[in-house]
């Protein structure tokens, strides 16, 4: 589903590469934790999958397509098949839960009837039954992140990218968020989650890829957060 083929990324005006000779293959339906300290290249890894950045060397393949050969006007279609969740939720404060989730479908031109059917289903899936008409500032952090996940998943993407989704949430609530991500993963969606939440990684025992200074230093199925364990 996602293949990093000897990928190196050097940002302009920076000496040190953000990623160096990264080779990672992620299969369809996998759940993968991307761990490592800040600045180790986790976000760059995710941005390369979205073609928000392009590699300085090597190739990134998503769903069998070489992203370097994907023309710019096709990038939106790539992104429609990838959902994204962030640490800071990125909800629209002037829209309620339903509208926030519906926004993702409206802007890709889905018909109103389809939106009216699909959005409530997804809101239920992430565990926000009965809260469709709440505004984001009336929700807890955990609930806001559920809205963000609903928005990322509403178009049934093949891949869900999560950049520290539990970074702003207390540990107890994080478990709930992880359960939602796990539920999404069970529908066959590939999930890539960047995190430095050791407790979660240890509890879930999924594949772990560890980055350090832009290099893959560990790739372990059913791994834990730190090597010391």
């Amino acid at each position: 589903m996602i293949h990093f083929d000897n990928v190196t990324k050097v940002y302009a005006n920076q000496q040190r590469p953000a990623l160096q000779h990264v080779n990672v293959a992620i299969e369809k339906g996998e759940f993968l934790f991307l761990v490592g300290p800040s600045g180790s290249g986790k976000s760059t890894f995710l941005r390369l999958i979205l073609k928000e950045e392009r590699p300085s060397q090597g190739h990134v393949h998503v769903a069998g397509k070489d992203l370097s050969r994907l023309s710019n006007w096709k990038v939106p279609h790539l992104r429609r098949r990838i959902g994204c969740v962030f640490q800071d939720f990125r909800l629209l404060p002037n829209k309620n839960v339903f509208e926030n989730v519906a926004f993702a479908l409206e802007v890709i031109g889905k018909p109103r009837r389809f939106i009216g059917k699909v959005v409530p289903e997804v809101i239920d899936l992430v565990g926000l039954e009965g809260k469709a008409h709440r505004m984001p500032d009336e929700l807890s952090g955990g609930e806001q992140q559920r809205v963000a996940i609903a928005r990322a998943f509403v178009n049934r993407p093949m891949i869900l990218l999560a950049d520290e989704p539990t970074g702003n949430i207390d540990p107890a609530t994080s478990i709930g968020i992880m359960k939602v991500l796990d539920r999404i993963n069970r529908t066959g969606t590939t999930v890539v989650m960047a995190t430095h939440d050791a407790a979660i990684v240890d509890a879930f025992r999924k594949r772990v890829v560890e980055l350090e200074d832009g290099r893959v230093v560990r790739d372990q199925s059913r791994g834990v957060y730190g090597q010391a364990y």
Partner: protein, 301 residues
Amino acid sequence: MRVQFVLQEIWIGLRRNLTMTISLVITVAIAMALFGTGLLIKMQVDESKGYWYDKIEVSVFLCAKTSSNPNCQKQEVTDQQRQALKAQLEKLPQVADVQYENKQQAYARFKERFAGSKGLVDTTREGDIPDSFRIKLKDPEQYKAVDQAMRVQPGVDNVVNEQEILKKFFKILGGLQFAALLIAAIQVIAAVLLVGNTVRLSAFNRRRETGIMRLVGASNTYIQMPFILEGAIAGLIGGLFASVLLVFSKIFLIDNLAGDVELVNSLGVSHLALVITVSICFGVLLCAFASFLTLRRYLRI
């Protein structure tokens, strides 16, 4: 869904920076009104030129006893001189047609033309206007050659080119046209910069929305369309105000001027409608294009 959604986005955008939108509308309105006025003046000049140049004549006035020109030596022109002059005029390559007009005919024409000004007609007697040859030129611009050739001939008192009188008027109109277009051009620059600023503010205000749109895979046109339409709508409103201003400038400037100089054919409603259409289209396209250019800089896709 799409249409409603885009319209909603535009409305939010325009309302959020209302003051910018208002200043943009005013600037566009003034720019387009001046641009349109320039066009109207140009049309008026072209129309009148065609009309008048068709009628313009060069008059060669012949000597009379009262002539003050030393060339005449206080002598009435002789028949012989008259014949010679007519023959010479007909030989000139620039001349299309020569007509002789004696004092009686000239007086009759004068009375007819100035029938409205009774005082003028009353104080002019038959014989005050000398005999003349009235000449039509093939090309009205080539009167100089005729003037030079005829002025020195014996029996010629004076050569008068009616074009000279009209030229002054056209010069005034030309100056007005230039001034209007110059100010319009400056206003257009201001409008483009204002559109740029408005769109930039708008893009900044909506960076959350556009960020999410990008992320969930909205197409570039879909992301840019509200901004471009925002500019276009401001341009359209400006254009509509401009059309009101244009109606005023037609009535109070062009028609007044035309009335002063007895321009027989003033511009019709169809001319005005054409100018208004052109101005509105120009305003809309200008704003939409300026938005598009700014977006390329401030909205990363």
